[in-house]
Amino acid sequence: MMFLGIGYGVTQETWLPSQEQVGSGYTFPEGLKALDRHRNDFSIVQNTTNKDSAEAHWGSTFWLTGANRFGAPGSSFHNTISVDQVAAAEWGPHTRFSSLQLNGSDKGIAGPGHGPGLSLAWDKGGKPVAGTDDPVDLFHRLFSAPSTPLDQRKALLAQERSILDTILTDAKDLQRGLTKTDVEKLDEYFDGIRDIETRLGKDESWMDRPRPKSPISEPQANVEGIEEIRLMYDLMVAALQTDSTRVLTYRQPIASVLNSLGTSVQPHDMSHYVPGPRMEVSKRRDQAHSELLAGLMDKLKAVKEADGSSLFDHTSLAFGSNLRAIHYLDNCTTLLAGGGASIRLGENIVLPKDTPLCDVWLTLLHGVGLPVERHGDSAGVVKQLQA
């Protein structure tokens, strides 16, 4: 499963197909033009929403979770598990990495668009999951054989474990006498330690299995904007192709994409476009995203399995944001592709107004063989989406 989050939404006038033209015969919008060659292999899904979202500049925080920010009394921020992590919990044990979280670097320029979080992913406790914005580092984690010999690595692992034990001793000591809230806070630390332990366990069981040979060469360092996305897409395909992981999220850069379009329009201004230069930039951003996405789909299709099917046929890909365009949180930007979740492809699918976005995520989970009961504020599987 791949989730590609773009933060600020799209240019609705030129990206969304008309809601009147349901099904496969819709007039292809300008913003999707680059995807024309794949038009039978993706669908646009309309009218979904995360009904509890009210943050009009947060395109990613609740995108995959559907949580209510104020859902926990006594606290001004609350989140729940994201759909990718639901899948990662099931599939994680089968791959070297349970899931991979990628982030856009947007070096030098901060700014809203995605909202709080360390990546698109949130763990089962609703805490942010860390991500990486360094393609080179990611490449080496995926494909580079460690330079130390096996027995030394085993010894190191043993040492890591006793270090963790030591830290745990201190954590238990600290825990005594804390208030209930603080004990809960410290649980995050214990969770962190447990995650490292799980990873060590995994490292151990994967230790004698050699890393896969990389289908791509080492990426260039310090690449930004459009090129950065292209690079990350390559890495994501390579990770799926080698079955290094089965769950990937990518919180994409915004500011640096605009920079690489050669514009001085700022992300927030772009998102609040009005006819004129700002809207033009927003459209060009959509086009750039569509070109990149078309390239990604090309690559997924080019990877063939023994039975003649392609990686694309076994992948479920979602592209979008919690935002539609401008300040709109309804009709969230949603593009689904790939054969992995048995979704109807090639269509403009118009759902009843304000269908929970989590129904779509639930449908994807069911489609990939994870029939969980619910996700976020889901009401049920969307039959209309199923092929």
Binding site: A56, A155, D170, L174, L178, E188, G192
Partner: protein, 887 residues
Amino acid sequence: MKTLACWFAVPGLLIVSLRAEPEAILPEKQFAFLEQNCLECHDTLTQKGRVDLEVLPFKIKTIKDAESWQKVLNVINSKEMPPEDKPQPGEKEKADFLASLSETLVVARNILSDSGGVATMRRLSRREYENTIHDLLGIEIDANILPSDKKEESFDTAGSSLYISSDQIENYRKVGVTALSESIKVATSNRQMQTLRIDFEKAKNPAVEKGLAQQVSIQNRFNRWKKQVDLQASLPQNAAIRNAIHAENRGKNQWEFYRSWKKITGAPSPLEFGFTDASDALHHRSQWEWLMPPLLSYSTYPHRDQGVYLTTDGHAVLNNHFHVPGHWLPGHYQIKFKVARVGEQLLPSSRRDLEDFPLPAADSSRCFLDLDSFQGRFTYGTFQVNGTFEDPGTIEVDVIKRPSDSLGFTLRERGSSEGRVKSLNRESLQSTGVPKGPAIWVESVEMTGPYISDDERKSLDRLQQWVARLEKDEAEVRKIIEEFATVARRGRAPSTEFIDQLVVLFEEFREKGAAPRAALSETLAIVLASPGFLYLAEKPSPSEEITDIELASRLSYFLTGGPPDERLLEAAASGRLKEPASLKAHTQRLLQSPERDRFVVPFLEQWLRLDRLDFFQFNTEKHRDFTLGVKKASRQEIYETFAHWLETNGSLGNLLDSNTIVINALLADLYAIPGVDGDHFRPVKVAAGSPRGGLLGMAAINAKGSNGEDTSPVERGAWVLRKLMNNPPPPAPPNIPQLSRLEELKLSTRELVFMHQEEAQCAQCHRKIDPIGFGLENFNAIGVWRTSDDRKGIAEEKRTIDPSGKIYGGAEFKDYYQLREIISSNYLDDFAHGFTEHLAEFALGRKIGFTDQGMIEEVVATAKEQDYAVPAFIEALVTHEGFRRKR
């Protein structure tokens, strides 16, 4: 339960008790709106769309109620309701209802998210972690592999949102190992200061000569070739082909002709003249045009045997880069420049009439230099150049070298990579064909360091002794780890079991072949990744009062962003710290220490949301004065101003309006205030009628209320409401239909924004926000005073700025001065209240809710007795019993 139905039955007087039990109640007068516009379909009987508004309680007590009301708000905002075919409410009526409902919802959210005064145990934020490592080990480190912890809407001290993850725990160890091994390296070195002097001219002059010789040679060779080609082309037998080539190149530049030299019988090959082919020859010729003049002009400057000029044309040979040597220890270094203003003295008068190059104007605005990072991505600052060739001035800049930092610099005239000089140069090139002459001469650069402060020396000495003891007798390791852990954990001793395990680990590192000090670094780094170090744990007594040692940490992390020093820990150990007199004395002491900048800077940056200055790039073509260095100085103005009032016991009201501003030469240049020389910030009295004085007149505040190009009255107005008037507008609501037809209309900024008030769903907030923003329209996007709107594409007759307006529900003003006057006289108490809430939120690491209003009001009252003196707020807060309580 009060529901709509009940209110109809018993319309009664509503008494809202503020402090005792805060309540979120939609005012009674809004019932009529619902009745008229909603109930026809959404009463209990009809329940169209399964929505029954009659049962919705007007007093919002649960998250579910809040959500239901949020939906009502959303559908009216998005114009879904009332449906188009039904009668519509009046715009004013609708705006009032929406404003009332969104404000009630904000109150409801605040009540529902009130933590009841419980401070969640907090982890050190990255900023505090870096400070703590510095105080503990005596060197500055860069922990940017850890998450920054900065928030969009609260402080980086907010415990409940300071999460931790497995990656982070591993990264703490990585950073810890580097910090320890580097600081041990410094601690055990001789810590000798080193000095390196760079005389740029030694390398520069030969490079200029060489470049010049190259260009002269190119020019000669090209001209000789051209002459030969011309000669052949002029022969009668070549007339036809000559005309054909000319015809082919019609409309192109004259040099294209020579690309076709082969066709001309008898024309020599460019190879004979040292060019690989015609393209190469043409390329060099065109380069010569812009490479030659600056070199030529440089070679005529006087005093270039004793120093270098900061030229403005971006010529590679003329750039000035330098490095702090990579092998120098991490620490603080001073860079000292000897500099002079060039002015009229550049060329000897005997030569002035011989030179085609314009003399540099004696323009004091140009007498600033930028010290940028090697690649120019960020700046260390912009510094004023004084002095003459005979008596050069001095500029001293302190820089920090962190482990693994390669400290490289680029030295150039202010803004020569962007903005000012770039534009000046372009204009000069267009009008005279040559770049601006230089304004600054640099005799030498000298780097000295590392400078080690007394506190750093103490930390380094302590570390050195631990290493020495270890290397003398490894049996000491247990004691050393225990001592280190106790200091690192701010005076709390670690458990025996923890130490036991650490000793075993140390021995394992040794067995694997690590040298003693390397094994020590690895072991101690584990302490620095353990929760006893990372969390500011507080274990309250049953009375909820924290211990003295915990109080010492609260105080020092609040006022110095770092761990308590020895004197605080001593006071805590003696049990006297919590006495008000002692708390006050320590507070005053800490606020006078240099470490107080670690409170002033992050607090102001986050309180006033100065991070917005980095959300966009400034258009330095349009606003040529707002270079990175000026932006940096404009931030500094805010910190320095606050620090000034803190030091001089000045009133907080000075931040609203004041006749004293705190600036340096660079900002004086931006503000056009004469007579301020030098880079240090100092108080300056402003003339009556100056727009400067108070936050509203500051460049950074106005610049953050822009998009880098044009002003944003909305951003500014909302900021004033939030930060100065303590009356924050509700968050920007989602799903409001955007007014998308405006860009075509060539409207002034005021008109553009005024469109907000056309529609009720916009007007509900914008009628409060926008007038204040209009009052600030005389400040352009970088805070420079203007009388004419410079937005691109406005009709000329609409450019004159009209700053008049009326504060919603308040006084009218005719211009900025009156607006500032109204805010500073009528809203000082509100400002003080908001300031105190933010201060407490920052200090206590939690949201300030209704539960805390008692404490806040008491602190404000105490400060008011002292004329709102800035330190009085801080003293009143730390001596308030709420500061000593876990809840």
